[in-house]
Amino acid sequence: MYRIGSGAGFSGDRIDAPQSVVAAIAAAGEGGAVIFETLGERTLALGQIAKRQDARRGYEPLLDDLLEPVLAQCVASGIVVVGNFGQANPPAAAAAIQALADRLGLGALRIAIVGGDDLVGRVDLSKTERWDGDGRLPDLDGDVIAINAYMGAAAIAGAISAGAQVVVTGRVADPALALGPLVAHFGWGWDDLDRIAAGTLAGHLLECGSQVSGGFFADPGVKDVPDTANIGFPIAEVDSDGSFVITKAPGTGGLVDLRTVKEQLLYEIHDPAAYLTPDVTLDISQVELTQVGPDRVRVAGAKGHPAPEKLKATVSYFGDWLGEAEISYAGPNALARAKLAVTTIGERIRRRDLPVRHRADIFGTVSAFDSDRGDLLAEFGGNAAGDYRVRFAFGGTSQRDVERAVQEVNALYCCGPAGGGGVRQSVKPRVRTLSHLVPRHLVQPVFHFAGEAS
């Protein structure tokens, strides 16, 4: 049996989460792995921008905070650390981890750097097809910041088999972070598709951290979660046949039951019989879940089919500017005053002929479900005398024009409806992404150890 825990489910996750996970795996005394998934679709482009400004940056900014409390115990207990926290600059992340190890008195670590995902200058996008999930989104022209392919687990497994204590990657398929250590430990063949599928499924359930163990789940009175301020991140106990138990560290909050595992099993899945990854096409349609103890769910029945011919790559561009501004109205006739603020801003944008897209929401009515046109708000018949916050959003290619639009909201202080207060505003650049399918031969996953030639 092999234990893999999750230390982070996204960039910005709870910093102290890895500690109980590492402690539990260490206490079992059989080694294992802890994985960190900190790389969203846009994160890599933000890292690329940071790297251009400073060659020592471009990796997960919270890396030290995540690893400092657990690195010594991982090294002492034979727990391999695997993370895509290298983002756009895995070598710099590896250097930072070695520097941390030096400060902790751990000496020189075997830190593997996985590369091959960066396709800038290596692919002609005009000769590739777009991924169909972007639907009707328009083609983008503009400056490409980054092109990164989702790689499989082979280089991660190879690095661990070669003795890596830490594996730093850029873009890999999220489940590969778990599949790599499993292949290295059990020696599964890449053509043993049901086991590769099972390891991929374990990674899928772990990759979002607490989302399988009580995070993103609580619905008071309906789905209650114990101690939401201290949710234990998940640990998979994997058997050599690929079946596994999802559990969490003792003494932590959260819960693992059939409901939490089902929600995460189908999270960001499209066709359940064909979840495409670089290593296998995963079929979860016959998966069986069994509660085998408190906070213990056994998962079995993953099926594997051959991996797709092409790999998905995220192409990041400099996008437009996003301006946001908010103002509050409360008390008698507040809804009508808030709606008047919305129509007034629309009229100001038209009168000044500002080339921006815009949208308005009134928090407390129907904002999260509404369309850009405000179809639901137009029909909203709720409390006329509530406590409402109007939120405007503007998008445009010109920073100056977006700033001008935001300034119009500020001007509601004196010129707008009665009793408007609490204006907050921001303008920031956005990164846009589109996904393309690229030929597999363009992507060559490789690894080398920090301090050795690549």
Partner: protein, 125 residues
């Protein structure tokens, strides 16, 4: 078998939404396997598409997972451009599972239906 009226889907099912690009998926899971036929009958792709009509949805595909008592909906073009270009508050669509869970459904009730179901129905009135 009588049809006493409708209840929110939220009373018998839970679920989660996620995004990739401009594609949203929402899973809907029955708490009790006995309600699986109700999900199949009531929570159709057409009704889910209607919930997202104002968002400009172009297609809804429904996948059935009988072993889990779950449905998975793949909803195209309902994210106002997706996380990188949408002007909406919730650019990921993370709130949108609750748009589906707010759907009103009809649950058939047998004369000797257990107390739990009666409570569910009463609380929905």
């Amino acid at each position: 078998m009588t049809i006493p009226g409708s209840i929110p889907l939220h009373a018998i099912a839970h679920g989660r939404s996620g995004d990739k690009g401009n594609r949203l998926n929402v899973n809907i899971i029955a708490y009790d396997q006995k309600h699986w036929p109700v999900l199949l009958e009531e929570v159709t792709a057409e009704r889910v598409a209607a919930l997202f009509a104002h968002r400009g949805v172009t297609e809804v595909r429904r996948y059935e997972l009988p072993l889990l008592g779950a449905l998975n909906f793949v909803i195209e073009d309902a994210l106002e451009g997706g996380v990188n270009s949408s002007l909406a508050v919730d650019t990921h669509g993370k709130c949108l599972s609750y748009l589906v869970l707010g759907m009103e459904i009809r649950v058939p009730v047998e004369p000797d239906e257990d107390a739990l179901s009666r409570r569910v129905l009463q609380s929905a009135k």
